[in-house]
Structure formats: C-alpha cells, structure tokens
Amino acid sequence: MSGWLSTRNIATVTLLLALVLLPVYVELTGSRFLLTLFTRIVILAMAAVSLNLILGYGGMMSFGHAAYLGIGGYAVGILAFEGVYSGFVQWPVALLVSALFALLIGALSLRTRGVYFIMITLAFAQMTYYIVAGLARYGGDDGLTIQDRSKFFAPVNLSNKTQFYYICLTLLFASIYLVWRIVNSRFGMMIQGARSNDTRMRAIGFPTYRYKLTCFVIAGTLCGLAGALLANHTDFVSPAMMYWTRSGDLIIMVVLGGMGSIFGPLFGAVALLILEEVLSGITEYWQIILGPLLLLVVLFGRGGIDGLLGKVRHG
C-alpha cells in the first residue's frame, strides 16, 4: 500500500466530494439539468457497482444485467399503475422480484461458463425484454408512465429533486460499502478464488456453484433497486430500459472504470455518461466517435481508469 496521499485516493475523494457537493453548485448556478444528469449517473453507477460484484470479482461475464434494471423498474411501474404508491411496498417487491429472476436465470446460466455464460445471460435478458414488451395491459412496447413517485413517511419526498438525488447517492454509497464488505469477507474470498480457479476451489471442498449463485442473486437484487430508482427518476418505464445495449453500457462502465476495483464502476459510469453528453453536444452522430473510442480503450487501455490511477489493487 502506498501512503494515504496516492493519486487514486486523491481522485476518489475528489469525485466523492464533488458528488456530495453537486446540489450546492446546482443551487448556486440554477442549472437543474446538471442535477437530472447526475441523478441518472448515480443510479446507473449503482447498477454498474452491482455488475462489478459478479463481473469484476466473480468473473461471471453477465451480458444481461440490464434485465434487473427493467424488472426493478417495472415492479415500481406496475404497482403504481395498479394504485399502490407506498415505497414500503414498491421497493421490497422490486427487490424480491429481481432476486427471484436472478435466482432463476443464475441457476440455469451458472451451469455453463465462458462464452456460453455470456450468450445465455444475454438470451435470458432478451427473453425478459420480450415478456415485458408483451404486457399489453402495461403499455407493451410503448412503456408505462408513472403518475406519482414512491411514497414514504412525511419528510421524505422523492419528487423533491435534491432530496431524491441525495437518496440515490446514499444508496450508491451503501452499495459500494456492501460490495466492499462482501469482497473482503470469507464469502468474497471464496468468490474470487472461484474466479481464479474453480476446479481447485471445488477440490478443497467449497461448493462453488452455490456460492456463485448467491453472489449472482445479490448483484441482481442490488441492480433491481437501481431499477426502482431509475423508474422514479424518469417517471416512466419501458422495455428499452432492459434492452441488451443497456447491458452493454453497464459492462462498458465496469471495464472503463476498472474491473474488480471498489470505486472503478463509479468512475466508469461518470466517465461514460459525461462522455456521451459531451459527444452528443458535438455531433448528432456521436456514436460514430464512441464506438471506435471503445475499441481503442479495449486495445490499449487495460485496467481502465483504476489502472491509470496506479498499480495498487483494492479488495
């Protein structure tokens, strides 16, 4: 470990402080757009953090992680449509349904490894996409507008943009802390061991399948919570939330930030979404720049942003 004043620590603390102080800046300049953008960044960072748990630490290359984003979102959307606005019902249901889906998808997908795993998680996510797009009662392909945000007890009001931002940020920090605790626990060591050598872990007596499945379900549940937040943020859910390109975006965030680093996904999410914002300001055809840029990052930028910040590995 290098000293406290390493480049990485300085960068991390600066980013965290900037995120915490952002609403103050927004208050001073009155740029509400920035608050909306960063709420989105914080929510998607949370999804990326959950993906990092299985992708970065568990070596499970899930290409269907956006499915849980959609499932969490639709849990909120459908309950709101049916007249249930209480967050105490909506959010636990969102968590539970995402957990169940993750259990089902994980139980089947984890029987395979490598490329099979990538393609199967992708196919299952697409299947979920088609199920949701087929829900004619809930808008089908067109999606579902949410009339009102989740309701909690009196002082908590999700419709207040600043308050909602801080709730998202708190939950993001909580998820980062949770992942950090998991990764450094015996369970986390086990998962990382299975990433390096699954056969050997099984040989010394760990039932890796069960451990990996548990990890997969935790990540899916966490992403479901991010989905519930996203639904509240946009006041709208649609199958597009879980389209496979969204899963691709999440992977990009994790890899761009640095796989298997605690704060990497946060850096990745901030970098990718701000880059998107800047590029789309330059040209309407911004993806024509982003695509090759990604290719270059893969070819030459190994280790992502975390790798740039120094060689010490967290976790």
Binding site: M61, I118, M119, A123, I251, L294, V298, L299
Partner: protein, 305 residues
C-alpha cells in the same frame, strides 16, 4: 393441412437463414476463439448494400452479387484493422470491442443512408408463387431462399471437409501455432475465414431484405437468435448450428402460428390471445434452457464437429 405445410416451409426457410448467420458466428468462434457481436452489423450491411446496388444496377441478382462481394471486403477489412489485435485476448474484450463496432456501424449507416430505412423490391420473376406439392402454392422467393441456403450448406460442407483450405481451417481450429509453424500463412487464413463469415451474414441479410424492411438495428434481434442457436448447437460446431437453426426456425414459426390455438384449448379466448405472443417468443429460450440443463455444452460439442 395446406396451411401447416406452408408454415413448415416458412419455418425451414427461417431456420436456414438463421443457419447462415450462426454458421459465420460459430466458424469465427471455433477457429479464432473470437466472440463477434458485430456479426449482426454485417447482416445489416449486406441488406443495405443489396438495396443500394440493386437500385443502381436495376438488377436484383447483380445487386445481390455485388452486395455479397462488398460485405466480404468489409469483413476482411474489419479483421485486418481490429479483430487481428484481439486474438488471444479475454472474451470480455471481444464483447466490448465488437460492441463498439456495432455502435460505429449503426451510426455509419444512419449517416450514409439516413434514419428512415430502405426497401428492396423483388423482381417480377421471383414475386410469384410456385406449386411445390399438388394443391400447395408457395412463394417463389421464399423457395429460392431455401434452395440458395441449402446450396450454401452443401458448399460449406465441401469447403470444410473436402478441400485443402478446409483442412487448414480445421487444423487451425485445433492448434493454430502448429499450423503456423508448418509454414501456413495463418494470418491470411484467419482473414479469409472472417471474410467468409461476413459474407454469409451479408447473404442472410440481403435475402431477408425483400421480406422485411431494411433498417438500422435489424441485425441485433436476429443476432441474439443466432447466439441462441450457437449455444444450443454447441459453440464451434457447424453441424450443431445447422440442426439447432432448423429446430429454432421451425419452433419459432410454428409457435407463432399455432400457439394461440393451442392455448385456447386450456384458457379462455382473451387470455390465450394476450398471453400467446409473449409466450411464443419465449419458446426458443425455453428450448435453450432445457438443452442446457441436459447438455451444458450444447447438443454437439465442438470436439465432435
């Protein structure tokens, strides 16, 4: 009964089309160990090229041949510029890099051809129906898709199993260093294989173009079906891809055609009508799940190709 046979032919036609796509995917994976998400972009490019060239030359066949050549060249260019540097890297790197390529090609197509999509009109001699069995007429164009695809299947079989280049391809799949050490230009071989896969995808795209509209993102949904097929068939196995493609084509088509009636036997008319579309699009994924539970490596694992 006539309708059933027609639907079976539709399923066969769709399955063969999917095979063309899955064959390229599985060939590239089996030989170069490369996951290529941008395969769907090549399918899309094939369709756009065909629509453009057919409009230029005024001939459907000439347009198709030119489009095939163009997709082959684009495929080889992609291999030389980008893919070559990805061999031996982590599969996640392949996924990300080719995801970047998808973004690039989608936007490039929007830039060149505009966002509204195109159509590729059929020539009159294909826009008729043919009597395939006594009392059963079938679209001449769909029938020609079946014939062309079957010809490609036979061609692929001979190419891979009966020619010198096929022998090198198979040798390269099992041990690329050894083949290189024996003096074979492995780089050129890989470029050719990638180009072949691209051309197959382009062929699938241009043949599908007159049936569906040519639009951005058309390659993405069908790409996922091709993935499902390679997974069911066993990644790297062309024979597996063939069996799985026909299976998926038939199940998907027949499911869409008859699932509503099947559900109506059990549920009320309304429930059946609302549940059937979603459930029938799930059928192939269900098939995949069942195959994986029984054989996690797919029906034909790569060693048995």
């Amino acid at each position: 009964m006539t309708l059933f046979i027609e639907q079976c032919l539709n399923g066969l036609q769709f399955g063969l089309l999917l095979f063309l796509l899955a064959a390229g995917l599985t060939l590239v994976f089996g030989i170069m160990d490369l996951v290529n998400l941008a395969h769907g972009s090549l399918y899309m490019l094939g369709a756009y090229f065909a629509a453009t060239f057919a409009a230029w030359t005024g001939s459907f066949v000439l347009g198709a041949v030119l489009a095939l050549g163009a997709t082959l060249l684009v495929g080889m260019a992609i291999e030389i510029i980008a893919m070559r540097r990805l061999y031996g890297r982590d599969h996640l790197d392949h996924v990300l890099a080719t995801f970047g390529l998808i973004l690039f090609f989608d936007e490039l197509v929007r830039l060149i051809w505009g966002p509204s999509g195109m159509s590729l009109p059929l020539p009159s001699w294909l826009n008729t129906s043919v009597r395939v069995l006594p009392g059963i007429d079938y679209s001449a164009y769909k029938l020609s898709i079946i014939i062309v695809s079957l010809a490609v299947v036979v061609f692929l079989y001979f190419l891979v199993m009966r020619t010198r280049i096929g022998m090198l391809i198979r040798a390269g799949a099992s041990n690329r260093e050894m083949v290189g050490a024996l003096g074979v230009n492995i780089k050129l071989l890989f470029t050719l294989v990638f180009g072949l896969g691209a051309a197959l995808a382009g062929l699938a795209g241009l043949m599908q173009a007159p049936i569906l509209t040519v639009q951005i993102g058309m390659g993405e949904n069908i790409l996922i079906l091709a993935f499902v097929i390679t997974v069911i068939g066993g990644i790297g196995s062309i024979r597996g891809a063939f069996v799985a493609a026909i299976l998926v084509g038939l199940i998907d088509t027949l499911g869409r055609a008859y699932f509503t009636d099947l559900l109506r036997l059990v549920f009320t008319k309304e429930t059946a009508a609302t549940a059937a579309p979603a459930l029938s699009s799930m059928l192939i994924y269900l098939l995949m799940a069942i195959v994986l539970v029984i054989k996690p490596e797919g029906l034909f694992s790569a060693s048995g190709k």
